[in-house]
Symmetry: D2
Subunit: 371 residues, 4 copies
């Protein structure tokens, strides 16, 4: 990861600002002959798209993706496939409301990157947050759609597991429920509760944080390049790079700090199928930075949206104290739309590591136990 590119072999470079002409990504290093289509990518973008419920920003962006390069029609089937060259996925901005930015143009919004960008670059794009806007994550979701094509047999799903102090009940976990509520919540009971809870927050002009969990099943063992290309290291960087994320954990995460060695280490036994079987998954599917074949489990904490309808103390670019209220169209819980983004980052990291493993060692193989 560096500047605006992530990945070593499956490389994604994103570009574009919240209120510019267009945003998107260039995916480089993608294997050839993988089927892709704008419709397939659009399906993932639509899950992240704003304005789908009253719990997300009311900005009206169709987020329509165009594939500008890197594909061609397969000569036998006629369907689009990748060619191995850079794939540019572009999304034109449509609803850049031409409002007066006067207030935030000169005042730093607390919790936002306004001051940080200004102090770093000596200027900042104040229009909707510019490059630091969460709109950038649409590019990631588009890239993630391509990454999934690199990962046949891998299932990647995300869910909201906590909003404010309220956690879901894991015994009620139902992946089927996730797309049946506006929160990507796998616990139908809590989903109902969140409806009222978040409505109150929204009406109060406030916002709230959340915790998201992403699980990848069917990940082949052996992915991860120790010591500084560990799978969990790259996942941590990937998730932490999502807007507003302040913490990442793998498997038991911070709870592991409270455990003794006998509870934490996952024991093993031979399964009936002659394969190695872990008796638990405290490790979240990763040991020594390498996937073990168990589900890879990542959680990340999203801070509350910093744009709220309450007066906050700040300063302006002229060095004066000032007050600010961030009007506009904002998510009361920006963590919700981070679910498809987290899934996409998981897909990109896994695709990259699959190619990296294949490069160094070859196609992942079954456990090489000796007979």
């Amino acid at each position: 990861m560096s500047f605006n590119t992530f990945g070593q072999l499956f490389r994604v470079t994103t570009y574009g600002e919240s209120h510019g002409i267009a945003l998107g990504c260039v995916i480089d290093g993608c294997p050839p002959r993988l089927p892709v289509s704008e419709a397939m990518i659009q399906g993932f973008l639509d899950r992240r798209k704003p304005g789908q419920s009253r719990f997300t920003t009311q900005r009206r962006e169709p987020d329509q993706v165009r594939i500008l390069s890197g594909v061609m029609a397969d000569e036998t089937t006629g369907e689009l496939v990748t060619t191995g060259t850079p794939i540019n996925l572009m999304i034109e901005n449509v609803d850049q409301r031409s409002k007066d930015y006067g207030e935030i143009k000169d005042r730093y919004r607390p919790g936002h990157a306004d001051y940080a960008y200004d102090v770093k670059y000596g200027l900042r794009d104040y229009r909707g947050g510019g490059r630091s806007s969460a709109r950038e994550t649409a590019s990631r979701v588009a890239a993630g759609a391509i990454a999934r094509q690199v990962l046949p047999g891998v299932t990647i799903r995300g869910a909201l597991v906590q909003m404010g102090p309220h956690r879901i009940d894991r015994t009620r976990w139902d992946w089927g429920a996730v797309d049946n509520n506006p929160f990507f919540c796998p616990d139908p009971v809590m989903a109902e509760f969140f409806e009222t809870y978040l409505d109150d927050i929204r009406k109060a002009g406030s916002s709230i944080g959340a915790v998201i969990e992403v699980v990848a099943e069917g990940v082949p063992p052996g992915l991860g390049a120790p010591i500084y290309g560990k799978l969990d290291g790259d996942l941590a960087a990937a998730m932490m790079s999502i807007n507003a994320v302040k913490g990442v954990e793998i498997g038991d995460g911070f709870a592991a700090a409270e455990l003794g060695g006998e509870e934490n280490a996952d024991e093993m036994r031979m399964g009936n199928d002659g394969k190695l079987l872990f008796l638990s998954n405290h490790a979240g599917g990763i040991l020594g930075g390498i996937s073990t074949g168990q589900p890879v489990v990542v959680r990340f904490a999203v801070k509350p949206t910093s744009s709220i309808l309450q007066t906050r103390r700040t300063v302006d670019r002229y060095g004066h104290d000032a007050d600010i209220i961030t009007k506009g169209r904002h998510d009361p819980c920006v963590g919700i739309r981070a679910v498809p983004v987290g899934e996409a980052m998981m897909a990109c990291v896994l695709a990259d590591h699959l190619l990296r493993h294949r490069g160094q060692v070859g196609t992942p193989v079954e456990w090489p136990f000796r007979k």
Copy 2:
């Protein structure tokens, strides 16, 4: 970060295994004319060195560092300075106890990387964990000592803030206490408690997890390269790459998920010195992936040592169920020695970002507010 190298401009490549001939690192891209010495580096290595109390492994390694390249005597002062070329810091292994590895040679230790390395590479270095041993972290500490030279005016300090379920009382935080107990604990009261607590765990042949906090003060604003070279993203990857780490958080971290927007966003006011003043530091000194000038605060969770003196279920390389007890010289709380390692990773990441910022933008400057 990729394979065994981390950093873009201040690049550290580590090499070596637990029971090989030598381990160490090659530091590339270091600015020239910085004063360095083996004694200076040794000071940091000695803090991490095993065998200093009954709470760390009894392996006797002097961890004596040698500078093999990249330095020369300054022609006026006669003291060693960097030349801008690769600095190889080598530590020879001394106490590779020539024991019988029969038991762990064929059996995968639960919680360790044994199975993962074997399934990835088709073989593994079973001697003391080989490359996946925490001995590798000595290389990081040596690199961190050089990195600190790149960061004049920056103070980097780490502390153990939780052991098992027991957290320190932050009102008693005393940096001066950290080096006065074998736990790097800033709370003298809890340090005393941990003495008994960990002794019991050690005698029971068990182990326990911990949480470490690292704080960097004096970090210039503007460090961090959004979007995929964010300072917090790189810190997350750096800390997650340390052995046994399962979670990383910046500032409030996971607690931010429980906050509302008005509590979480740090307000600003003009200070008496004409500089911008944040009224709180929930953000941990980073907004939009860029340092703000506030202290950079990172915490990470370390799982309990997986090597314990209790029988655990596992399988062997021949596909048979087996039992295993990991005898040997182990830390009952491997989190303790992660403190100097976390400091070193913080130093390396900040040094790298300082150079990266200087490359793109120039020497960090004060807040460019307009008059």
Copy 3:
């Protein structure tokens, strides 16, 4: 350089195919607050644009560039400046003649990348050469325009110095002549000769090779990162990556192999201005991979256009012998249009190295001789 990205700090990623929707580049890591405009970039693109004389392909492409991201209006002057975020420069394809590709779709054109792409990727974009078309170099020229903004005080100029076996007379070198003939030739006499010479070749349906020289003056000393980021190493890779280039030399290049040590090594004396003065420039401005302050001189050989109107022997994708004539709109001497491309690559490499030097060492300084 890797895949479709080059540069470490000033990073350019190009995308797009000859007959796709659009092509262009994403420039990442560019310093902020540099003035840019579409008109400025267009000026450079127009020099490379096809169809400007009968000596270049008659394809009609306006090569109109659009800046999609990474810029905003400066708040005081109102002019566009860079923001430090990714700059996407897009050129839409217009004249994709919808011809029948039947012939070349299945037959490999000798000298082209047809077979190589097919054997690598298992498919190839036969429409105008796809990604391997020289149209890709428009992206480089656009990037070079931005790179020049990073290099105030540096003058980069290219010229055609040989066509077929005919070399220019260096005593007649006149930079002013370069833009007064369709060959970028600095020798007006030879330019006149080339007019007839190339006309004959063109009419015969043949093509011819060329040698291009690019000179950068005003390059600060100290640029170049030994050992594997040497300035000449990066220039060699950059020039060799241009379509049809088969050789690169720095300074005297291959002629240096014929020299004795006393002729080759550039002697030094103190200049009247108190600065170090080289008495010759066999080295081409680079010693030990580092710029010396002398003009940086690079030459590269461009092979003749492989598309010619003469029957050639080849095979088809079905494993049959076949004959092929490559009809279409082609440059009789593709080396001509390589001149602005070579300049652009020089600009990009120098910009990158300026930032890299600034990162490691700081702003380039005068010779630090002691008093």
Copy 4:
């Protein structure tokens, strides 16, 4: 390539100076389970070793390599194999003659990197040229020995094809002759001539340049990652990074500039074995940056050794004009010992590209022609 590391997946980082404690390399990303041994590496180092004839420097360095990490005994055969972790190959310096460096300490040797390093870093290691010494190339040769293990079926051989203005007669090319003369010359007649020729130069205290050719046979088709990871681009950078190299060409190289399209483009026919057959190899085995299966042919020009026993004009660090004679132990034709170095760089680049291809596309396959 960046700083002191080259390669993307097969990564080599070199360290060490001419007169430091040790030099060597860390090879990262090497596939596991490849057989290696110090004796095998030593064989290649001995070809490059100084002091083997009166035509190379008389410095007495045994260049004894030690494998410090990254290998272990295979459990069945007992022989050393790679483990997939970093391989540190170290060579200790022995013959650092403790001579008086007074003269060159303050004076810049013409043709050397003295001034360039000083102006870049503000200091320089004057002891034997420090990091810029050709001794660094021993590290490359050691790395190349490992790289060859990644390339079963590939034969890489180098030869000196020109010394001063004297070229070999290619009709007399005999690979068997290469190791039977002190010049790695494949033309026995010219080898005899060079003996007298170079002796005269040596006795005159002068030096001379050379051209080296390296040929790789058995390279699978498909290696090379367009556009900026082209095989020829990476080879150009690799060869240009060798000390004293001023030009690189692929296949016909600069001669291609003199050809017409019908002569230059290699025609194809189906071979009797049902495989595609090129009728010539002007391209040097690379089209569009991708290997075609033909022999990969690279040539590079080496300038004459700059250290000669003749008085040269220079300046000193105090800004005074001065004269200098570079006494010491030097090669009269440094191009000779560049032969094994060029082979090693070829091996490293090909190994890297084989892994990169495998990562993106999979194991190289035969031409996928359709039936």
